[in-house]
Amino acid sequence: MNLSEKVLSDEPLGRFLTEHNHFGGGGVKFKAFMPPPKTLALSVFRIHNLTLDQIWEIGENKVIKVMEQEKTLYGVADIKAEIVTREGLAIKPDPLPSRHTNIINWPQEKYRQLSIAQVLATEAELKLKPRSR
């Protein structure tokens, strides 16, 4: 794994989808990109150079399994870093778990958060996890 220390503008970031209405109609819904109210830090992973199977492995082991609630991994919203920064947000890599990153610098105003989340959802590519047989 050779990720640069700083997230590059054309790097893909993955927001793992844990709710059935995080997506629909072939696309991602803005709700998937609304930040948590306490931290205003949106959790994503750097998914550059990963196969889909590797992405699902990260989603299951580093996201779903560590959640306090029992959740289902439905898929991932794949979005380019430059789209995030174009909306005035910043990307702050975390040391652990590896590849984890937070999208920060959200405005306090709810209507601005909503507008940004709408744009991110529209620009993201939806990748659904195949259902287990």
């Binding site: 709710e19 696309g27 709700k31 609304m34 948590p36 909503l114 507008s115 709408q118």
Partner: protein
């Protein structure tokens, strides 16, 4: 499926001014107004419209009743936001298509109208009668906050209309 033209949205006929009277006559007026609202709500089109939205509100109340419902730290649905959302729904014009009802990580109810990938408008129903809204119409964005007192602000109705134009 509701269809509508750009010109067809009008204010809700149930949008009566708030009764500020304190006399017995004021109580009578309030009671008669409530009865009139009830009879409107029982008409087929109007009743169905409200029924779908209220079912949506009951559904989200049940589904998002616990903190951390998304695994990312979301708050459980806010009861005041639910009550305000019901009041908002009661005054939506009948010609407005039914919005999708959902809850966002802050625990507030959100109504969304969508008509294609980049044609959508959402309103977050806050606990203090604040309506934070944002719309995406192709390459154009609109956003802001209004306050809901006796009727739905014109800017909200105009933005819903814009989704379908």
């Amino acid at each position: 499926m509701n269809t509508m033209t750009c010109a067809s949205i009008e204010q809700n006929p149930l949008n009566f001014p708030r009764n500020l009277g304190v006399s017995e006559d004021a109580d009578v007026i309030q009671r008669e107004t409530d009865e009139l609202k009830q009879s409107f709500a029982q008409t087929v089109t109007f009743g169905e419209h409200l029924s779908t939205i209220t079912e949506g509100l009951l559904q989200v109340r049940k589904e998002y009743s616990k903190d951390d419902w998304d695994g990312y730290g979301a708050k459980r649905v806010d009861e005041q936001s639910l009550k305000n959302a019901l009041r908002f729904a009661l005054t939506l014009p009948a010609s407005v298509p039914e919005p999708k009802v959902d809850v966002i990580p802050s625990g507030e109810v959100v109504f969304t109208w969508e008509h294609g990938k980049r044609q959508l408008f959402s309103v977050i129903i806050g606990e203090r009668n604040d309506l934070s809204y944002a719309g995406l119409y192709g390459a154009t964005k609109a956003y802001g906050v209004e306050y809901y007192d006796e009727g739905i602000p014109e800017s909200i109705i105009a933005n819903v209309k814009r989704v379908y134009c």
